[in-house]
Symmetry: C2
Subunit: 114 residues, 2 copies
Amino acid sequence: MNTPNNSSLLKGSLSVMILRLLEDRERMYGYEITQKVKELTAGEMAITEGALYPALHKLEAEGLLTAEIQLVDGRARKYYSLTKTGHTEAAGRMAELAAFLENLNLVLKLKPSL
Amino acid sequence: MNTPNNSSLLKGSLSVMILRLLEDRERMYGYEITQKVKELTAGEMAITEGALYPALHKLEAEGLLTAEIQLVDGRARKYYSLTKTGHTEAAGRMAELAAFLENLNLVLKLKPSL
DNA sequence: TTTTATACCTAAGTATTGTATGTATATAAC
DNA sequence: GTTATATACATACAATACTTAGGTATAAAA
C-alpha cells in the first residue's frame, strides 16, 4: 500500500514558491520576491513580509539558501541563492506539490486546466 | 487595483474538500469522507480524523452544514449535509481555490496539466 | 516637507493540521 | 472464545504557518 501523503495539505506553498523562483533566477532579495509574485499574478497574489522574511530565514537555517548582503543605492539588500542541497530540495518539493495538486484535483474534480 | 488575495495560501484546503464532496453527494458521514478521499486518490491522500472532525464541527457551527445522527447496524453515524448557505459558500470557496491555483501556476510555471 | 517606494526585521495572535489517545460496536481471524 | 481489524465517533496537545501590526532606515517623488 502507498504511504499516505500527510505532507501538510499545502500549508507550505510559500516556501515552495520561494525555492521555485530561485531555481529560475540564481539570486533574489526579499522585497524583489514580493514584487515578482505581484507582477506574475497581476497583483492578485500578495506575499506579506511578515510571512516572507521568517520563511527565508528558515530556509537559510535549513541550509537550502545562502545569503549575502549588498549595498545598492545606499540601501542594503540581502540576496538569497539556492545551495546545492537547496536545488535538490526545490525539485523534491515541487514534485510533492505536483502530486498533492493531482490528488486535490481528483477529490475536487477540477477541470484539467486547473 | 485588485484586492490582494490573502486567502490563506491554501491552508484551508480540507474544508473546501469537505464542501465539494458534499456538493456532489447530498449527505456523507465523517468516516465515509476519509474513505472516499482515500478511494479517489488511490490511497495517496489520507485525511486524519484529528483534522476532519474538528473541521466538520466548525463548518456546522458556521451554519454551512447540518448534521443528523442515524443508527446503522448498531453503530451511530453522523450524516452531514450542506445547508443553503453551505451551497453558496461551497461555490465561493471553490472559486477562490481555483483563482489561487491559477496564481500559483503563474508563479511556479507548472505545466498546464497541473 | 511629507508621502511613497524601497528594504529589512520581529512579536503576538489566529487558525489548521498532525499526533496521540479514548470510547464503542461489528466482523473476521485465530 | 478470544483477539485483531474495521467501523464510527470524539477531544487534547503540540507544531507550524500565516496575518496583523508594528518598528527601523534610506531614497525619491510630490
